[in-house]
Symmetry: C2
Subunit: 318 residues, 2 copies
DNA sequence: TCCATTCCGGTCAGGAAGTGGCCGGAATGG
DNA sequence: CCATTCCGGCCACTTCCTGACCGGAATGGA
């Protein structure tokens, strides 16, 4: 039996689940003498995990935070929660960490027992999301590709270009990039013998073949820049400025989460600035303020408001 | 030196970062002979982690999924991503796993080095959330309380009841419950010698005193039920039914994520049902469909639409 | 102040386990 | 057919693990 390693892990696990443990209790659970337990604790400390100990009646052992992440020992529920959380973060719920979340997700999913994966999938549907976020990429596809990138495994899939027929592709995946809430895959296309960028929402049936390859010279130092260059002109992005007839503090409370900037005016109103891709978002925010407002900046927003206002009135008076 | 335990962990870590490793490479990195490496691999297998091995040129070792979660060995970025993901999930982004996410978050945060905690805090602001979600509870408060619940530590905080002055409380925390997107703490109030329910958004300055207590008989088998009973009558919750003049498939694509139910009609329109706490949400969804619609069910929605429509028109015509 | 409780770490001796070197074997892919 | 890779038995040596026993020291409550 690989006793000492297993015991070290179990000890770490116990210390992670409940913060405070008396020595005798730990020794009992591990099935060793208290002397040996003390030595195990010492071993953990030598490994760099700071185990605090206190004497007397209220004494006991506890694991504190140290300088490095210790191995996380998770129970099933926690593992599922982590996978689900990472999935939503990878979907763009938290800006700026999509790629990292995906990488971590790939790691978790890879070692996760199948029964837990099924639970994660089952929770997939219950995410509360904004209906404006656009198409989510299938999480399975995402993790399959992320793993292939990490492990240098060839990938096959069916791709439908913006103009053209669906066709099979064989690639050596390099990196996944999220840009403006869309996932892209940078990969070396084996048949075309060149680097290509694929939009994940146009890609189906992704599967790692199992065959490994040696990494090529990347097409660019930063994969995101490469994608940026390839997909070219960005979609219209609006800079909305609105004068809201309500106290700045009130408006700020509502918009803070959405990332708007609020400047207080002198007459009890305030100026709200938002950067958005479409107008649905700002309308929602403005509706929530329950105050009157005037559009300062984009004329297009004027028209949009008129149309929507008329539509709502039609529905409201029927 | 605690050699074999440390090595087992490092080996596990290596196997988790990159899926495929030739034996010689692993042995080199661990600083042992290949024979010993083989024994280490065997040890992992005995511990229940299925290490797959392949022979020949494309051979090597890889960690597969097994029947239990192995210890997760994360680098800094991944740990941060996990914490951030759990935090958003605990905020109610994914329904039904808030408590579990919080529990996992408490575990991660507890062992996370301070420098990583700071990074998590820094990312706090950048979450893309709906401005309608109501006040988010401070994540630090949340984790402090969650840890106190888990570790049976007394808690002190300042509480402002719905009617009354802020006052200090000393409690023995029992459980955190999320109900209708709000966090509640069930705890034994030491001064009042009774079980109480506290709303977290009315609670400030939470701190664990460090003093531990013995768990009392819980006030109810299910803490959520207890909270439900105590907070009593639910806020108005609307059952909105709308006829949308657009194809069912189109509407479904937009509303699926928000949890609405769509029934196709015979004339190209469809019936959309939503259960919501306020009307901002459905308006956003309906605006996104870019189609006309009629309100079928709650008359209050009529009035709301008229008011909002007029407000938008005022803003749109200025 | 005293006392029970708890962690601490030294020492000892027997036993278990880890280690590297060596080997023939077998699967795999070019 | 051959190079590459994992496999696992054997052996001798060394390391370390373990439990038992001890006196000591910090702690918090009576």
């Amino acid at each position: 039996m690989a006793n000492t390693s297993a015991r070290t892990l179990r000890l770490l696990s116990l210390l992670q689940t409940h913060r405070h443990w008396p020595g005798g209790e730990l020794a009992g659970r591990l099935g060793v003498s208290e002397r040996t337990l003390r030595r195990d604790i010492d071993r953990l400390r030598e490994l760099g995990y700071p185990v605090h100990s206190g004497r007397g009646l209220a004494g006991g052992y506890r694991l504190r935070s140290g300088t490095a992440m210790p191995p996380l020992l998770l129970d099933d529920d926690e593992a599922v929660a982590i996978a689900v959380g990472l999935r939503t973060a990878a979907d763009g719920t938290v800006e700026g960490i999509e790629e990292t979340s995906l990488q971590a997700l790939a790691k978790v999913i890879q070692v996760m027992p199948p029964r837990l994966r099924r639970r994660v999938d089952a929770l997939r549907a219950s995410t509360v999301v904004s209906p404006l976020d656009g198409p989510r990429t299938d999480a399975t596809t995402l993790t399959v590709i992320a793993q292939a990138c990490r492990d240098d495994e060839r990938l096959t899939f069916t791709y439908t270009p913006s103009s053209g027929e669906p066709a099979g592709r064989r690639v050596e995946p390099y990196r996944l990039v999220m840009l403006r809430r869309r996932w892209y895959l940078v990969a070396w296309d084996l048949d075309r013998a060149d680097w290509r960028v694929f939009r994940l929402d146009r890609l189906t049936g992704a599967a790692a073949t199992g065959a490994r390859f040696r990494r090529r010279e990347p097409p660019a130092a930063d994969a995101a820049v490469f994608v940026q260059d390839r997909i070219g002109s960005r979609p219209a992005r609006w800079d909305v400025t609105v004068r809201v007839h309500a106290a700045a503090a009130v408006v700020e409370a509502i918009t803070a989460a959405a990332g708007g900037r609020v400047e207080p005016g002198d007459d009890g109103s305030c100026l709200l600035r938002l950067q958005v891709d479409d107008f649905d978002w700002p309308v929602l925010i403005l509706a929530a303020t329950r105050a009157d407002f005037d559009v300062v900046h984009p004329p297009e927003f004027h028209r949009y408001l008129r149309e929507l206002g008329e539509r709502l009135l039609r529905a409201g008076s029927a």
